[in-house]
């Protein structure tokens, strides 16, 4: 397939930096210049700059920018409290809210020609998933101590040899399903858009897919956050 035009890669190439031609490069600099890395940084810079511009000086009577963030953050806070409880939300809100904003922006950015979604690379989604997966075990161990092992032993002592592998497998399956779902959805969207642009871009053929893409992007970001919240809640509560 023809390679899509990515403007950051072109700028970097003009600056004389090596751009990998495969999905991942060889040397360190080449790996750092891979499109999904540069667009991850772009998303980060975008979020930081927009946040700084709209929230530069907080006021008692919020203006346009501050109003938007207050509704967004307030809504997310309500949602987390509803699902995880106040205590856990206060501890983990920065992390999960950052994930939500980052994934939503990273998904949506791919709809603009010249950009790509960093989440359409398995490396990005696997990194996010690993953070969530490790964190939910840390939460479990901190909340339950050694009794956290009981989460993996099933309801009865007799069933331990049967339940332990099953519980372990379903726990590792979380790692796989969480990362591959986000990656698969976004990559499918990107590839479909790329092909349609190439075939019939002049006749607005990709337009319906773009509308669906907005929906998929937001829903996937929400699903990721919802599942993160569910996993954290489950590992925080006592074993049955």
């Amino acid at each position: 397939m023809e390679h899509p035009i990515l403007f950051i890669s072109i700028i970097l190439e003009k600056l004389g930096l090596p751009i990998p031609h495969g999905p991942v490069g060889h040397g360190l600099i080449e790996q750092l210049c891979a499109p999904y890395m540069t667009y991850t940084w772009f998303t980060m810079i975008f979020l930081v700059v927009v946040g700084k511009l709209t929230l530069g000086n907080l006021e008692m009577v919020p203006g346009k920018g501050q109003n938007f963030w207050e509704i967004l953050i307030g809504g997310m806070d309500d949602f987390f409290v509803e699902n995880m409880g106040r205590e856990l939300t206060d501890k983990l809100f920065p992390m999960i809210a950052t994930f939500a904003l980052y994934i939503a922006v990273a998904n949506l950015i791919g709809l603009i020609p010249g950009f790509m979604s960093p989440t359409s690379s398995i490396n990005t989604t696997l990194a996010l998933t690993l953070i969530v997966w490790v964190t939910h075990h840390i939460i479990g161990i901190r909340a339950n101590g050694l009794a956290y092992v009981k989460h993996f032993l099933g309801p009865m002592p007799v069933l331990i040899p049967l339940m332990l592998p099953i519980e372990l497998i379903s726990n590792f399956a979380r790692l796989l399903s969480l990362s591959i779902r986000l990656f698969g959805n976004i990559m499918a969207k990107e590839t479909l858009l790329g092909i349609l642009f190439m075939l019939a871009g002049a006749y607005f053929a990709p337009l319906p897919i773009m509308v669906l893409g907005v929906l998929v992007s937001l829903v996937q970001a929400m699903v990721f956050v919802l599942l993160t919240v569910v996993y954290f809640t489950q590992s925080n509560e006592h074993a049955h």
């Binding site: 399956a173 399903s177 829903v219």
Partner: protein, 84 residues
């Protein structure tokens, strides 16, 4: 956000990942079995651990399915309590 779309997103989040979770559990189980057969026991036990892993994987798939349904039921009960 209206009540309807909020519930819709909740249901999407809860049920939308059933397929992926089920397949992932089977893949992990069978992958573990194949790894045990080929790398740990050097092909001496060849078909056995693969099949055992596959069986455990399918069981784990059904177990996570069961968990999702159980969790959703709990949420519905909580909602009913809130309404009363």
């Amino acid at each position: 956000m209206s009540k309807m779309s909020k519930e819709m997103i909740h249901l999407l989040g809860n049920y939308g990942h059933i397929g992926f979770t089920f397949v992932a559990a089977i893949f992990i189980g069978m992958g573990g079995g194949i790894y045990l057969d080929q790398k740990v026991f050097d092909d001496r036990t060849t078909p056995w651990f693969t099949f055992i892993g596959l069986a455990f994987g399918i069981a784990a798939g059904f177990k996570s399915l069961f968990d999702i349904i159980k969790q959703q039921n709990k949420e519905f009960e909580n909602q009913d309590k809130d309404k009363d």
